[in-house]
């Protein structure tokens, strides 16, 4: 009973927060509602016993991605009136995308319930006395190791790409060369001069 109550609470808040992400006027509020939605999704994961995924969801999406969203959104100087004007213009394409996603969702659920092979793809209750971190690692590093490596490689390329795109060397910038500074010796750069009184150097 408690689980059912928790499920409906998490599910309701997730959907309500999702609606608020789209409909709230202030983009900062949108991002904060998005965080709420992530959080409740993590709660749903905990309810089905996937605690590792739940924690990773919080660490990655809430702890890192949403922080960057919030950073960007806060720094932007957004004109809210202008933002509203395009709403009707984008409504058809947005509705179309939503419809496509809904149909896809129906396909997935339909395959689970009607097809005979589908049961294999549905969530399997993990073997007892093994934590789901272990279970995940067991398939990730054996069966799917090449896909896992490929995903890592793609991320690495994305990272290098981001660096290449943003790194530019501008001429005329004075930079500190620490090696040069450390290798300076006082004998090379300092002359000790005996100055006669009243004459100057």
């Amino acid at each position: 009973m408690v689980q059912a109550i928790a499920f409906y609470a998490f599910a309701f808040v997730t959907i309500a927060a999702g609606v608020m992400v789209v409909s709230s006027r202030n983009p900062v509020h949108s991002v904060l509602y998005l965080i709420l939605a992530f959080f409740n999704a993590a709660g749903l994961f905990v309810l089905i016993g996937a605690e590792f995924i739940a924690m990773i969801l919080v660490v990655v999406y809430v702890g890192a991605v949403a922080v960057l969203f919030l950073f960007v959104v806060m720094m932007l100087d957004i004109n809210f009136v202008e933002l509203r004007q395009g709403f009707m213009h984008y409504l058809p394409i947005g509705a179309l995308l939503g419809l496509i996603l809904l149909v896809e969702l129906f396909f997935v659920i339909g395959i689970w319930s009607f097809s005979e092979d589908g049961n294999m793809l549905a969530a399997v209750i993990p073997i007892q006395n093994i934590s789901n971190t272990h279970a995940l690692g067991n398939v990730l590093y054996t069966k799917y190791v090449y896909l896992f490596q490929a995903a890592g490689l793609i991320l690495l390329i994305a990272m290098i790409g981001a660096i290449v795109l943003t790194l530019r060397s501008r001429p005329g910038v004075r930079k500190q060369k620490i090696a040069d500074q450390l290798s300076r010796r006082s004998e090379d750069v300092l002359d000790v001069v005996k100055v006669k009184e009243g004459e100057g150097v």
Binding site: V2, L32, M55, F71, S131, T133
Partner: protein
């Protein structure tokens, strides 16, 4: 009959959990109060002053007096502030610094929630701490608070990464995410010895994460007045303060669990 069943399945466990929560939180808050007292005394003697010495013997009641003062003072909401977020930020900071304690093991089996992914939970909670800071800075609608929040948030997010990597190193040695298992794995030797460089990195990152000297740049008292909580007064300020100090104790607790053998340290003398 039905009532007793209801009592046994729901009410009794809830009551026990609430009692356990109080058994953790009350000593924690007392520890926070006297950590501030301790800090003030130590800094005072470093600067050849006496420090708090008026309220109570040796000034021992000073933290309580400070708490009462902050409680009685007026809460000021800046007129340009986003009121809801402004009030939520200190609450969030305080709540996050408390809920992390749910998974810290105090002795073998003496832990509120012995979950499988304990260390990930701690990591997740500490990565959420940045929201209290950002929300406070943005909702205050003040340049100083906002700049302070940006600095603080940038620092916290960056050092999160190094903490994550250090945690992974420890996990590779243990093979489990459970905090009790991590402590158990240090029965023979503390991880601080074989993983000394990681221990040092973790300690430095913990200092940066809690915005303590020498990483107290976000506070910037000379140019930003005090950082993200400039606009806060009375109890809202006190919540930030309590949250920050509770976080310091939490980070020390994490260091102890990950590297210094946790509660095994106390156990050692009886077994050897």
């Amino acid at each position: 009959m039905e009532f007793s069943e209801f009592l046994n399945t729901y009410l009794l466990p809830t009551a026990i959990i609430v009692a356990q929560i109080f058994a953790i939180i009350v000593p924690l808050l007392v520890a926070v109060a006297y950590l501030t007292y301790f800090e003030r005394k130590v800094i005072a003697s470093m600067q050849l002053r006496k420090g708090p010495n008026v309220v109570g013997p040796f000034g021992l009641l000073q933290p309580l007096a400070d708490g009462a003062k902050l409680f009685i003072k007026e809460t000021i909401l800046p007129s340009g502030a986003n009121k809801i977020l402004f009030a939520m930020a200190p609450m969030l900071t305080f709540i996050l610094s408390l809920i992390a304690w749910a998974v810290i093991p105090f002795d073998a089996g003496m832990v509120l929630a012995d979950i499988n992914v304990g260390i990930l939970y701690l990591f997740a909670i500490s990565s959420l701490g940045v929201y209290g800071v950002i929300m406070a800075g943005w909702a205050s609608n003040s340049k100083y608070a906002f700049l302070g929040a940006l600095r603080s948030a940038a620092q916290m997010v960056s050092y999160e990464v190094s903490i994550g990597f250090v945690i992974i190193t420890v996990l590779l040695c243990v093979g489990s995410l459970n905090l009790s298992a991590i402590v158990e794995a240090q029965k023979t030797i503390w991880f601080a010895i074989p993983l000394l460089p990681m221990f040092v990195i973790f300690f430095v990152s913990a200092l940066a994460e809690t915005n303590r000297a020498p990483f107290d740049l976000p506070e910037g008292e000379s140019e930003l007045v005090a950082g993200y909580f400039v606009e806060y007064s009375s109890m809202t300020f006190a919540l930030f303060f309590l949250g920050e100090y509770a976080n310091m104790i939490l980070m020390s607790g994490m260091t102890a669990v990950l590297f210094l053998g946790g509660m095994v340290a106390a156990d050692r003398h009886s077994t050897v």
